[in-house]
Amino acid sequence: MSDPRFELTASPHLKGGATTRRIMWSVTGSLVPIVAAAAYFFGLSALLVIAAATAGAVLTERVFGTPGSLGDGSAAITGVLLGLCLPAGMPMWMAFLGGAFGIGFGKLIFGGLGQNVFNPALLGRAFLQAAFPTAITTWPAAGGSFTQLRGDNFALPLMRASSDAVTEATPLGLMKFEATSTPVGDLFMGSTAGSVGETAALLILLGGAYLAIKRYLDWRIPVAIFVTVAALSGILTAIDSTYPGPLFMLFSGGLMLGAVYMATDPVTSPVTRRGAWIFGVGVGALVVVIRVWGGLPEGVMYAILLMNAMVPFINQATQPRVFGRSGDGMVTA
């Protein structure tokens, strides 16, 4: 009796808003200006490093991931983000390895998109940091001609890079080890030493604003991070003026890139809104703690990874109060 023309699907029969695919590719798109800026400041080397990291991530996803999972764009984002937080002079094989590690052990092992605990790009970077501490802290100076390589990008796989490039300390390194501050204007425009993509604070903020307006990222997380970092470093500076001030803290190092693009990865940040605030505040506080009292000049990556580890716990602890129930799940009245 039933009419073959008609489908039988469950309600709702309407579909609204963004799709995962569109979100992912929008994020990738918003990274393009940042990549361009990286190429402007660090020349061809920046592009080589980004390309190598992306190739590592994408190839790993292609080989070991579920068939067709490349299409959701998440592997490409991981690769580009990883590339953006490496120094320009890094050997390409290392960047490739980092991308492969991040996707392989940071994502696919958990079952692929949406199920990983740690941000794959940052896990890849943490791996590189622990494996090749020298190579990843050799910062080439910004500027120079486009075609000039900023280090030994073409070192043979597994082989050491011969380092004869012009290096420079990062603003955070200068602050930590020599107590010298860098003008905030330079930080804002990006003409300082550092990872290829983290120096251009302005472009990162613009990209983040675009994504936040499109609601492709949760604005609460970067806002919470910025406010926490500014407040804590403000308090510290007020107590002892040798501590770096809020503006310097905000615009130096990977804070902008991390807060806007890494911490907001929906998969590895809390799903609840209250959780997002807690997460952001936690990242901000850890960044300040590691930068000020830790052994490393930069702590954004570790702060985010540590808070990633907290996310399942935060999620459990911040379950929303169900309508018509009090906070502990009891029926009200």
Binding site: L14, K15, A18, D218, P266, V271, G329, V331
Partner: protein, 442 residues
């Protein structure tokens, strides 16, 4: 009492009401056959009173209420009982129906009043009359109205809310009713207020029906304390608990009824029907239905005899376009898809929405990316993300612990999910599985 205007969360689907919102209600002619299921209301199915071959007249009771939470069924057309048998029901099952072959050329004339005049009746008599008239909520759930009219003596009801939100996209049934029959709405409100002994009523209407708001405001009787409250447009405002929250700021405790917070909610269409049965003296034998959607050639608001077959209704509206994929009873958010054009329009059918390929294109399902949109959408503040992952591995007990019972399957979570995960479908399946387990244990 604070009158506010809003509840938290919810979604904003395109309302698509332009198809019919300005189309006046028309009357559909009698079909050749009406099919009257015995189960058209929440509660126990009615007891059948007629047999094959019996002659029935329009308004005759053909099935009686079986218990308090039950409602009688009346013949919606004059004719002969062609059979008492199983027939496709809009809920997808086969259910017992009374099939009546409509007498051709019958005048279907008005008969001596079957429902008594309202004037001078005691509240108890009014309740009785409403039950006998087979009036049920016309908003979809079809809860027998007389039950709502007789709250237990200990309940302290102080406010009547008339639900004119009609938040489902496409549907304009209540909208047209309010716009064209404001007196009926006010009269029905008067009846209910008197029965319940409350002296305040609020008619909540979403702001996308300005004409209805204007007409209702203009016609408020001087002797009644009725407020017309424009509401911001948001789905699912029409859900009882959301509406109460939006209007009074009170939260109905989980698992409890609105009367626990001193409120009774009745759908605007049902209110108008109460007025209509007392006005015409006929029981509930017809209702207003929006037949709409891009798949219908002539979208209309119709007065349709209860029991008319979907096929006849669609034919009256000019038939279907070629690219039709889905026919829904109810709105697109919560409506039930129909695959059989022989199903009857029943008392609880708020509308018929016909969708085409463009609206129903199926989307590939991606893994959940924990974006949290479903948490922002859920009007009862559940965590659909967690519930969904539990459902996927079949952990129904844990879903229950995460308050699956509070889910009203409004579909807001599925609507917003960027990964197209069929959340609300999994929740209704989860609920069914839990119910099965519970009955097994019991």
């Amino acid at each position: 009492m604070i009158l506010r205007s809003g509840f938290r969360h919810g979604v904003h689907p395109a309302d698509s009401k332009h198809l019919t919102e300005n189309v006046p209600i028309r009357r559909m002619g009698f079909p050749t056959e009406v099919v009257l299921p015995l189960r058209q209301h929440a509660g126990k199915p009615a007891r059948v009173l007629v047999a094959r071959g019996d002659k029935v007249e329009r308004g005759d009771k053909i099935a009686a209420a079986d218990g308090f939470i039950s409602a009688p069924v009346h013949a919606s057309a004059t004719g002969t009982v062609a059979g008492v048998e199983l027939w496709p029901h809009p809920d997808g099952s086969m259910a017992e129906v009374v099939r009546v072959t409509v007498e051709r050329y019958s005048p279907q004339i008005p008969r001596p009043r079957l429902v008594p005049r309202w004037e001078g009746l005691s509240p108890e008599e009014v309740v009785k009359a409403v039950q006998e008239a087979g009036v049920v909520g016309l908003g979809g759930a079809a809860f027998p109205t007389h039950v709502k009219l007789s709250p237990p003596p200990d309940a302290d009801v102080e406010l009547l809310i008339v639900n004119g939100a009609e938040c489902e996209p496409y549907l304009t049934t209540d909208h047209r009713t309010m716009a064209e029959y404001p007196e009926r709405v006010h009269f029905g409100t008067r009846v209910m207020m008197q029965c319940l002994g409350v002296d305040r009523a609020v008619i909540g209407v979403e702001k996308n029906k300005p004409d209805a708001i204007d007409v209702l405001t203009a016609t408020i009787p001087d002797d009644l304390d009725i407020t017309i409250l424009p509401l911001t447009v948001k789905y699912p405002q029409g859900a009882e608990k959301m509406l109460i929250k939006a209007i009074t700021g009170r939260e109905v405790p989980s698992g409890k009824l609105p009367m626990h917070v001193g409120v009774i909610v009745q759908n605007a269409g049902s209110i108008a029907t109460i007025a209509e049965v007392f006005e015409t003296g006929l029981p509930l034998v017809e209702r207003i239905v929006t037949v709409t959607g891009p798949g219908v050639k002539r979208p209309s608001n119709l007065v349709v005899p209860v029991g008319s077959k979907l096929r006849d209704v669609l034919d009256f509206c000019g038939g279907l376009t070629d690219d039709v994929t889905e026919v829904l009873f109810g709105g697109p958010m919560m409506g039930a898809p129909q695959t059989d054009l022989d199903v009857p329009i029943i008392k609880g059918t708020t509308g018929v929405v016909v969708l085409t390929r463009a609206e129903t294109e199926r989307h590939p399902v991606y893994p959940c990316i924990h974006c949290g949109r479903c948490l922002d959408a859920c009007p009862v503040f559940l965590n659909p993300q967690l519930l969904g992952s539990l459902a996927q591995v079949g952990r129904y007990e844990e879903m229950e612990a995460s308050h699956l019972a509070d889910c009203m399957v409004c579909g807001a979570c599925s609507y917003v999910c960027p990964s197209n995960i069929p959340l609300s479908q999994m929740f209704s399946l989860g609920k069914a599985a839990l119910q099965k387990m519970a009955t097994k244990v019991a």
